[in-house]
Amino acid sequence: MQITLNGQLQNIENSKTVADLLEELQIAHKKTVVERNGTIVIEEFHEREGLMDGDRIEIIHFVGGG
């Protein structure tokens, strides 16, 4: 399926939910803020929030460096 992730079109093969996507992107262990089609998906709902073709997903993960 194809989604727009942080403004870039991407093919996502193995992810059915937001939680899967964070795994696929290898940032599941980080603190994140996720938005799906303009609405924030809080952490408790990552497992059950399904992804659909054409979704606009924004993901920002926190880092500590500087």
Partner: protein, 339 residues
């Protein structure tokens, strides 16, 4: 120096103007951390004519910093100059009448409160624990502060304003484990410059009271993969947030819980702090361990002990390289320094 001429291009800019420039020249900004982000932010603010800058940093200049920490030179690295000290010297070369206070040491709540009053705090730190302390200090004193961080080609930023949307604790829901923020994947200078540019722009808007122009979002980018994101996070504000909620406890100001030995991110080094009542003298330590002394200046002493390197600061902290972990670092400290 003719300030009329010096800041003329900034005054011509519609968003700043004469009144905005005057406000900048009356403002006091605290920059915490003088690594890549903090040193760049400090330079831009000083060039912009900021009234007073306070710069806090606990580290010294090393060769590996020079690729991106653009205030520093080979001479600073060779002399093991503390970053805050090296930064001040260079900033005064850039603008000789600038008012610059530096603190070579840890940013703890007492140190930070001593720097007040200020208009704004800008984050140039390398760890989340201290950022949450900045968050609580800023909220307690009703000051805005600007978070910024970067790693690799990625960076993000967020402006915290008391009473105007969520704070950093609301967004992060607690402190991540150290491993979550401790990255060893390198960094490129443009990522740093991008984050600093956003932080300083937000600072200029705040200081010139251009509040309607503030970005108002959590913002990130990756300059290598060309991804960018901007999220409105107002819905993440926690009513009972211990930092920005109705009855705040400011948990990060209870600094005593902070570890006495701390692994420094990406540095292959451990920092050990002295016990509260311990007196450390660089001179005395240098005398006792003469055969190990490889470098000494007015701020620090470098001891080479077997294949380990212990850098002792005047405030009693030591940064120890080549140890296997915090336990070994602490025992080395106790053996050679005391406590």
């Amino acid at each position: 120096m003719n300030t009329e001429e010096r800041f003329s291009r900034q005054r011509l800019f519609h968003g700043i103007g004469r009144s905005g420039q005057e406000r900048l020249q009356e403002a006091h900004v605290i920059v915490v951390g003088a690594g890549a982000l903090g040193s760049l932010t400090a330079e831009t603010l000083v060039r912009a004519g900021i009234g007073k800058l306070t710069l806090i940093d606990r580290d010294y200049v090393e060769e590996s910093n020079l690729q991106r920490q653009q205030l520093y030179t080979e001479a600073d690295a060779a002399a093991w100059t503390p970053k805050a000290e090296a930064a001040k010297k260079r900033l005064l070369d850039i603008r000789s009448d600038a008012s610059i206070e530096i603190i070579v040491g840890e940013a703890d709540p007492a140190v930070l409160e001593n720097c007040l009053p200020a208009d704004l705090i800008i984050d140039g730190l390398d760890n989340m624990e201290t950022r949450l302390m900045i968050n609580d200090t800023a909220l307690k004193h009703r000051l805005p502060w600007i978070y910024g961080a970067c790693v690799g080609a990625y960076g993000l930023s967020y402006t915290v304003r008391p009473g105007q949307g969520p704070c950093l604790r609301c967004l992060m829901k607690g402190i991540p484990m150290e491993g979550e923020t401790c990255d060893t994947v390198g960094i490129i200078a443009p990522a740093v410059q991008f984050v600093s540019a956003t932080q300083v722009t937000e600072a200029m808007k705040l200081l010139t009271h251009s509040f309607e122009q503030l970005r108002g979002t959590l913002w990130s980018f990756d300059v290598w993969s060309n991804e960018t994101s901007s999220i409105h996070v107002d819905s993440l504000q926690e009513e009972n947030c211990p930092s920005c909620g109705a009855s705040p406890a400011y948990p990060a100001l209870a600094w005593s819980g902070r570890s006495k030995a701390e692994t420094l991110c990406g540095r292959d080094a451990v920092q050990v702090k002295p016990l509260p009542d311990m007196q450390v003298s660089l001179e005395q330590t240098a005398n006792v361990h003469k055969q190990h002394v490889s470098k000494a200046n007015q701020h620090l002493l470098v001891l080479n002990i077997e294949d380990k390197r212990l850098v002792l600061f005047k405030d009693g902290r030591a940064i120890i390289h080549g140890v296997s972990g915090e336990v070994e670092a602490r025992s080395l400290y106790q053996r050679y320094i005391g406590g």
